[in-house]
C-alpha cells in the first residue's frame, strides 16, 4: 500500500503531534518499500526509522539509488511509528499509514520543502555554527569559541541558535563559565553581537539554503553509507546525561548517567533491548558532591557524578565518580558496587586499565593523573606540570579558592572562567607507557608507569581531547577545536594530521575517537554534526555516517565483537535532543548484525 502525504497545507507542528499519537499497527518484523517524491522520482539516502517498544528503540535504514529500503530484525507483534527523513523534504511520520500489507510492503511519498527556513532548520548544528565562526577573524578567539562553547552541548542546534537580549547573553555566559566553559573578558563582551548577528534568520537562512532547490544541495550519503543500519535505544530520562558508554566482554553495553548517579545496562541481544539501571551509592554527599561550586544543572540529582567507565580484565566495570572524588567498581554478577575513596585531586575524569590491572585516570580540575592498583591498594596522585609558575601556584591554591568562593566574591564571573590546563584523555601504549592530553594547554604527556616521571609535548594543533592507540602503537588524537585528527608516533615524536571532511570545513568538534580493534579503522565523534566518522588508515579515506536524531552530541565510541560501533547521545542538557531523552546508539556498518535470513526483496539495496 502507499502512504501519501496528502495535505500539504496542514501545519507541520500539528501534523507531527498527531502522527506521534497514532502508531502504525502492524505485526511484521520486516518491511520494505520505496520512498518517492510527489513527482514520482526516487529519493536517495532518505532515513527510514521504525520506533517501537517502551522504553523505545529506533531502527533506521537508508534508501538506495532507486529509493528502496528494507528493514528487518524488528520484534514483530508490536506497534510501530515510522518516520521518513531527508534534508529538503518534509519529515513524514506515520499518521497517514494504517496497516502495511501482510508481506510488509510499505511505500512513502515525500513532499519538497518550499520554505527555506524549514530547510535550514533541518541542517545539523555545525552548519549554523559555521555562520558564527565565519565572523571571527582572530584565530585565538575562534579557537576559544569552538573549545569553550561546545563543552557540553552542540552549538547551532535549535536551542542554541537563538538571538537574545544582551543581558540575557551575559547570564548565559555566566552560567556557562560556572559550569566550566569560560571565555576571556574581552571576547566575552563581543559574544552577544556576534551570535545575534550570525543567527539573524534574515541573513542566516539565505546563506544556509543557497541553491536548496538544486540537486547538489545536501547530497545523499554514499552507497557505502547507505548499507548501514542504526539502532538507537532510549536510555534514562530528561534529566539524564549519559556521559560515557562501554561494551562489556559479554556484549552487554553499560552507560553512566552523570546527572542522576546511575549505571545503565543494555542487553542488545534481547528482542526488546532490555535495559536496567543501578543507583551508584553516594553516601551522605550533598548535591554536587565535592565538585567545584558555581552552577549545577537545574534538574540534577548528582552527588557522585559518574563520568567515565572501563571494563576490567575480570569483567567488572570501573567508573570515575567525578564530583564524588571516588572510583567505583561494579560487580556485574553480584550487581553491587565497591567505592574507593581517592587520596587527592579534584574531579577524576577519564580512565584506562593497564595490563597489570591498574586503573589510571586523569584528574581534570586539579591537574593530576591518578593510579590505583586494586591488588595492593596502592594509590598514586601524580601532579602534571602547569604552563607557568603562576598557574602552578593557582592550581595548588585551588582547594582554598573553591572553599573561599562560597563566602567571598573572587571575581571571574560573567563568562570569564579560569582556563585550567585540564588533563583529559588517557590511554596506555603497547609498551605500558601512560599517555594523556591536557586539553586547554594544547599538550600531551607521557608518564613512566614505574617511576611516574612525566614528559610533556606541545601538540601542533589545539585542544587534544580523547585519544587512543591503534594496534601498531600509533597514538591517534582528535583536535577538538582544530577540526582534525592527528597520528602521533611515540618513537619519532612526529605528528601527521588529517583534516575532517565535515562540511562546512572547520565546523566539527571531534570530542573523542576510538580504534576498531579488528580493522584498525579510526572512528571519530562528529559531535557537532550528528555523525560518526570513519577513517580507514590504509586508504586514508573518511566516510561520514549521518545519525538519525537531531542534536546527537557524542563523547565516546566503543565496539562490540559483532562489529557494532557504539556511542551515546550525551548532549547536556538533554532537552535539546530532538526527543528530549538520551540514547545509546549502535551503527552496524554493513547492516548485517542480528539480521535474520529473509527472502531477497528490494534487490537494489
Amino acid at each position: 500500500m502507499r502512504a501519501e502525504y496528502q495535505n500539504p497545507r496542514f501545519p507541520m507542528s500539528i501534523f507531527l503531534f498527531v502522527s506521534l499519537c497514532l502508531p502504525v499497527l502492524a505485526s511484521a518484523d520486516q518491511f520494505f518499500g520505496q520512498v518517492m517524491s510527489d513527482s514520482k522520482t526516487p529519493i536517495v539516502g532518505a532515513m527510514v526509522t521504525f520506533r517501537f517498544g517502551d522504553p523505545f528503540q529506533e531502527k533506521t535504514v537508508f534508501t538506495s539509488e532507486e529509493g528502496r529500503y528494507q528493514i528487518a530484525g524488528l520484534p514483530g507483534s508490536t506497534d510501530y511509528t515510522v518516520r521518513v527523513r531527508r534534508i529538503g523534504w518534509h519529515d513524514l511520520v506515520t499518521d497517514e499509514v494504517a496497516v502495511a500489507q501482510e508481506n510488509g510492503a510499505l511505500d512513502f511519498t515525500l513532499l519538497r520543502h518550499t520554505d527555506p527556513a524549514m530547510v535550514a532548520a533541518q541542517l545539523p548544528a555545525n552548519h549554523w555554527y559555521g555562520l558564527v565562526l565565519d565572523r571571527v577573524s582572530s584565530e585565538y578567539e575562534r579557537e576559544q569559541l569552538v573549545r569553550q562553547c561546545t563543552y557540553c552541548h552542540q552549538q547551532g542546534n535549535e536551542a542554541t541558535r537563538v538571538q537574545r537580549p544582551v543581558e540575557e547573553w551575559h547570564k548565559v555566559l555566566s552560567l556557562m563559565a560556572r559550569m566550566g566553559g569560560g571565555l576571556d573578558a574581552e571576547f566575552s563582551a563581543k559574544i552577544p553581537e556576534l551570535f545575534n548577528s550570525a543567527y539573524d534568520p534574515k541573513t542566516a537562512v539565505p546563506k544556509l539554503t543557497k541553491g536548496f532547490d538544486q540537486p547538489g544541495f545536501a547530497p545523499p550519503p554514499s552507497e557505502i553509507v547507505r548499507r548501514a543500519v542504526i539502532d538507537e535505544y532510549q536510555l534514562g530520562g530528561r534529566a539524564s546525561m549519559q556521559h560515557d558508554m562501554i561494551v562489556g566482554h559479554d556484549g552487554i553495553v553499560y552507560s553512566v548517567d552523570m546527572a542522576t548517579d546511575h549505571l545503565f545496562r543494555l542487553d542488545p541481544s534481547k528482542p526488546d533491548g532490555a535495559r536496567e539501571s543501578f543507583a551508584i551509592p553516594s553516601g551522605d554527599l550533598p548535591l554536587g558532591g565535592f565538585g567545584p561550586g558555581g552552577a549545577l544543572p537545574s534538574n540534577t540529582s548528582m552527588r557522585v557524578g559518574p563520568h567515565s567507565l572501563q571494563v576490567g580484565a575480570d569483567g567488572d566495570i570501573w567508573i570515575t565518580l567525578a564530583v564524588g572524588n571516588k572510583l567505583a567498581r561494579f560487580d556485574t554478577v553480584e550487581e553491587s558496587f565497591t567505592i574507593e575513596d581517592l587520596p587527592g585531586g579534584i574531579y577524576p575524569h577519564t580512565l584506562r586499565i593497564d595490563s597489570k590491572n591498574r586503573v589510571w585516570y586523569t584528574i581534570a580540575v586539579s591537574n593530576h593523573v591518578g593510579m590505583f592498583d586494586p591488588a595492593t591498594g596502592q594509590h598514586e596522585v601524580i601532579r602534571v606540570p602547569a604552563r607557568s609558575f603562576g598557574e602552578e601556584v593557582m592550581l595548588r591554591m585551588l582547594p582554598v579558592f573553591l572553599w573561599a568562593g562560597q563566602y567571598i566574591d573572587l571575581g571571574g564571573g560573567g563568562g570569564e572562567g579560569a582556563s585550567l590546563p585540564v588533563p583529559y584523555g588517557i590511554d596506555i601504549a603497547p609498551d605500558g607507557g601512560i599517555w594523556f592530553s591536557q586539553l586547554n594547554a594544547h599538550r600531551i604527556g607521557h608518564i613512566d608507569p614505574d617511576s611516574f616521571e612525566i614528559t610533556m609535548i606541545d601538540t601542533p594543533f589545539t585542544a587534544p581531547r580523547r585519544m587512543r592507540f591503534d594496534s601498531q602503537g600509533k597514538l591517534w588524537i582528535p583536535g577538538f577545536s582544530s577540526n582534525l585528527i592527528s597520528k602521533f608516533d611515540i618513537e619519532t615524536r612526529q605528528f601527521e594530521h588529517f583534516e575532517l571532511p565535515i562540511e562546512p570545513l572547520g565546523t566539527e568538534t571531534p570530542y573523542s575517537l576510538s580504534i576498531d580493534p579488528v580493522t584498525d579503522d579510526v572512528w571519530i565523534c562528529g559531535t557537532n554534526s550528528d555523525s560518526l566518522i570513519r577513517f580507514q588508515q590504509a586508504s586514508a579515506e573518511f566516510t561520514v555516517y549521518p545519525l538519525p536524531t537531531m542534536v546527537t552530541y557524542t563523547r565516546d565510541i566503543d565496539f562490540s565483537a559483532d562489529g557494532g560501533v557504539w556511542t551515546s547521545n550525551s548532549n547536556a542538557p538533554a532537552w535539546q535532543i530532538e526527543t528530549g531523552i538520551p540514547r545509546l546508539i549502535r551503527l552496524d556498518v554493513n547492516g548485517t548484525i542480528d539480521l535474520p535470513l529473509v527472502d531477497s526483496v528490494g534487490s537494489n539495496l
Binding site: P165, E167, K171, S174, A239, L287, T300
Partner: protein, 181 residues
C-alpha cells in the same frame, strides 16, 4: 618577646573574627527582613495571568540590587527558565526581570527597578508529581552585594505556600523548594 607578639597577634585575629561574625549576623538579619518583606509582597500579589482552576503558579520576588533567575523543573525533569521559556508539559515563564541600569537593559526593555520585581512560571494544566524550584544569582545590579534576598510562592487550587531566603552571588541554589501536586 615572641610570646607577647603572638599574644597581640592573637588578640587582633580574635577581634577581627569577632567583628566579622557580628557583621555577618547583621547582614543575615537584614537579608531575613528583606526576605520577609518580599514574601509579604507575594502574599498580596496576583498572578500576571488570571488563575484558572487547577493551574499552578510559581512566583519569585527580589529586590532591585540583584538579577535573580527563577528555575522551575516539572515532574518530567524538564526546566523552564529565562533561556528556555516553556516546557513540553506546558510550563511557561512570564518575563526575565533584569537589572534596570545600563543601556543594555533599556534596549531590551526588560530592566525593571520598580518593586515588586516578580518572575513567574505558570502551568495551566500541571501534570501531577514533584516540582523543584531553583534560584540563580548571576548578576549584581547597582548596589548589589554578595548575598541577595528572595521570596517564592506556590499557588495551586486556592492554596499558597511561601518561603523566603537568600542566595549567594554566582551560586545557583538548585533546590530552594520542592513540592508535589
Amino acid at each position: 618577646m615572641r610570646e607577647v607578639a603572638a599574644f597581640l597577634l592573637g588578640c587582633v585575629l580574635v577581634q577581627g573574627c569577632t567583628d566579622q561574625d557580628a557583621l555577618m549576623v547583621e547582614q543575615q538579619q537584614k537579608l531575613d527582613q528583606q526576605g520577609q518583606r518580599l514574601s509579604s509582597i507575594l502574599g498580596n500579589a496576583t498572578p500576571t495571568v488570571s488563575t484558572t482552576d487547577g493551574s499552578l503558579t510559581i512566583q519569585m520576588s527580589f529586590g532591585s540590587e540583584a538579577d535573580l533567575d527563577l528555575y522551575v523543573t516539572d515532574p518530567h525533569m524538564e526546566t523552564v527558565y529565562f533561556a528556555k521559556s516553556s516546557t513540553r508539559s506546558g510550563g511557561r515563564i512570564s518575563k526575565d526581570i533584569q537589572c534596570a541600569s545600563g543601556s543594555d537593559s533599556a534596549q531590551s526593555g526588560r530592566g525593571d527597578q520598580h518593586e515588586p520585581r516578580i518572575e513567574e512560571v505558570r502551568f495551566d494544566a500541571p501534570i501531577p508529581g514533584r516540582y523543584r524550584i531553583g534560584i540563580d544569582y548571576p548578576l549584581k545590579c547597582a548596589g548589589g552585594e554578595q548575598r541577595a534576598a528572595f521570596a517564592v510562592s506556590v499557588m495551586h487550587n486556592g492554596e499558597q505556600i511561601r518561603k523566603s531566603g537568600s542566595v549567594t552571588f554566582e551560586n545557583f541554589d538548585v533546590v530552594v523548594m520542592e513540592f508535589e501536586i
